[in-house]
Amino acid sequence: MARKPEYGLLIDYEYCTGCYTCQVACAQEYQWPTGMGGIQVLEVVQKLPNDKAYLAYLPFPTELCTLCAPRTKKGLEPACVKHCMAGCMKYGRLEDLSKELGNKSRMVLWSPR
């Protein structure tokens, strides 16, 4: 039977700047070979009315994300969260993070694999 997810990542994508720190922090932590990694940054450019557009980035935890179990066991934050330059990622219990999700707009809550 599948384990019930308990922990997750809360992302405030209003402030994600697409700096790719999370990707490389993960690569360093686990010495991933090229093409593999626990998190990927996605770019979204949405056309808006009046010739405007919105450029957004979103860190997406992949099938390789373990929520940094080896780190969190030691009381450390996941490598991506620790180094996030915009401070837009948070690790915690899904129960607590889901409450925070309601505090502002442009947020997503990931419950990885």
Binding site: Y15, C19, T21
Partner: protein
Amino acid sequence: MSAQNVRIVRTTTWSAGPGCHGGCGVLAHIEDGKLIKLEGDPDHPWNQGRLCARALAMTQYVEHPKRLRRPLKRVGKRGDGHWEEISWDEAFDLVEKKMRAIREDYGPESVIFSMGTGRDIGPWICMLAYAFGSPNVMFALSGNACYTPRFAALDTVQGDYCVFDAGQWFADRYDDPRFEMPACMIVWGYNIPATCPDNLFGHWIIDLMKRGTKIISIDPRLSWFASRAKHWLRLRPGTDAALAMGFLNVIIKEDLYDYEFLEKWTNAAHLVRKDTGKLLRESDLATGGSRENFVAWDDATNQAAVWDAGQVEYKTPDIKPALSSDCEVSLADGSTVACRTVWDAFRAEVDNYPLDKVEEITGVPAGDIAQAARFYARSKPASIHWGVPIDMTPAVTPLCQAIAALWALTANLDIPGGNVISRFAFDAVAYALPGAEGVIKLKSKEQDKTRIGADRYGPFNTFIWRCQTDLALEQIFTDDPYPIKGLWIQTCNLLGGIGLDPKKWREALKKLDLVVAVDLFMNSTTQYADVVLPAASFLEKEGVRTWWVPLQSINRAISVGECRSDVEINFELARRFDPDFKWKTIHELFNDIIKPSGLTFKELQARGWAFPPEGHPSCPYRRHEKGLLRADKKPGFQTLTGRFELYSTLREDWGLEPLPHHEEPPFTPVSRPDLAKDYPLILSTGRRSPAFFHAEHRMIPWLRQIEPDPVVEIHPDTAAEHGIGNGEWVWVENWMGRAKFKAKVTLVVPPWMVMATHGWWFPEKSGPEPTLYGVWESNINQLIPMNAQGKDGLGAPIKHLLCKIYKVDGRGK
């Protein structure tokens, strides 16, 4: 791995490595002498535990199989790629012998010392050049068009540089009671979160935004800031000065400026002669009067009053200087001259920029300009931060004058949350930068006489101590007024990165008798060297960082091969060239540099960093009021008048326009409609990538996978018009040449402009001629000319050229 064997070294990033202008505190995890992990230092006030992709990739960088590890001597023809490993002793002996021969035959000035982007290299390259006897230290970009022009322009009008305030002067940062959150911040042509240039941490702006700061974004691209801005002004590249004049127009017309600052701290009241258009000086009024003193009209007595620039006050007390005046002043010869005030002249210039005209020049709707200008002027406090596009236009100084007038007239200069004067920590200056004299300096004025460009350009003989790059390149071919025989190139990729018209740079390299390159990896430029010396990354060296606050030490964590730090390499040669070389050890040199802090290098290393205390000239705020900016301790600024100069006395002395204004750049659809017929798109270059610093990092797998190919951004409508699909290879071409890029079809750019990425070469390809790591394939600098610098020798048209685009057949292979 067992944690017991891991040693943690606390240090500071400052290139080489992440490539940036540094300042982040890091913890290097070392096991058996190897770097196993780099983390942000959570206790460090600069980055507060955060770290960028390029620093986090250091484990792939330091032990990269292609790192240079031993000195190399060329054994074949230049460019053939045949090298022999030699010892450091042999390398030093060889370089010393060849450089001495040039010095004896042609004079020391015949060797140019070339550097790239500004980091922990400036002082050491100056140290070597000056010890050798050459004044020709070269920052290799055309028009010295990165940071130096902005520095020089602010030294011209306000005597000191300034930056946006993010509380970086205090250990407690945003929580320090002295700091205030800016209500508004103008981000002017700046994608600073990617790469952190200009000695700032880009994400500080994101910190401010989270705490309520609203953004005005001025950018032709839909940058991240533009997406989130309260006002986004999408201007045509190269029209920034017209936009700034439009802002000034709104602020003056709508009475949104600060009267007190204008009266008290600017030269608004000084008189300008109507006959010559020049400042009226005390020497005009009376024989024996000083040319350095200026004149105002006293409304109280209806007569001229002399501004004593040395004393920074009027010679007669209690005068009421007129801000606006139409007066007749008696001159020494008995005649009279009609005058108006600087403020009148300034406003008359601003009147040339009504918003409908500004809209026509910039493409930004007049209503949007008015709203943004009002929002900036009414927000208290407000700051402006500007990026390198400001430097990358030939009329850079008048543009800087216009923007500087914005923060001055709104009284946002050196206040909490405004534009804060950025002095080197504890005024500890390693080497001469605009506005500062360092520990490392030329031995005499005599030694400086032959510096290339100093005789031609005002700023270059006032406070820029480099040679003018365009003239230096020409001189390699002309030998006029003296031959250039040697080039010392230190972490500077002339062909793949910084050099415009790079094939011309290659011809120059081929012509020289001696080329020495110091670098961490081979690149297209090092292929033309006679000797290549392996340099250390920041993790392999010791150093001091003083720009700006806090004062920081760089501490050695590891060593790699036989790599040596730039300071070690240059120290050894400098010692050999100069019998009177001042320092015996490198620690002695560091101690000398940081002496004003009262700390020794060892003490600084133990502390990690140090903040200047309250009351020190390098600790804000309102230092012009407190007499902390000038050497004589008088209130005011370090300018010729002691005031913020709305009308520049130095520019007048240099025979240049003293007031801010817009000049159409040399290669735009407006200035060159003839070229625009064949090349209808505006070509802009140099948008930043978080993965790369300029030409660096293409060999680091974790970074390269973020941006595997050279990209040109094309608007969907423009791509469709040219039958170009996303991801297809295209040629970008103009009258200079062409380069190949992968199309990124995106709304980020407007339909009339393409943005080509810069610094592209391919370390995975063959190094020797003719391939040269594929440097001619996708190097956008092949489309940009040298010799288009501004009238003061500064600036280059890098953000606004012209081009056409078309598909490459067969996917570009």
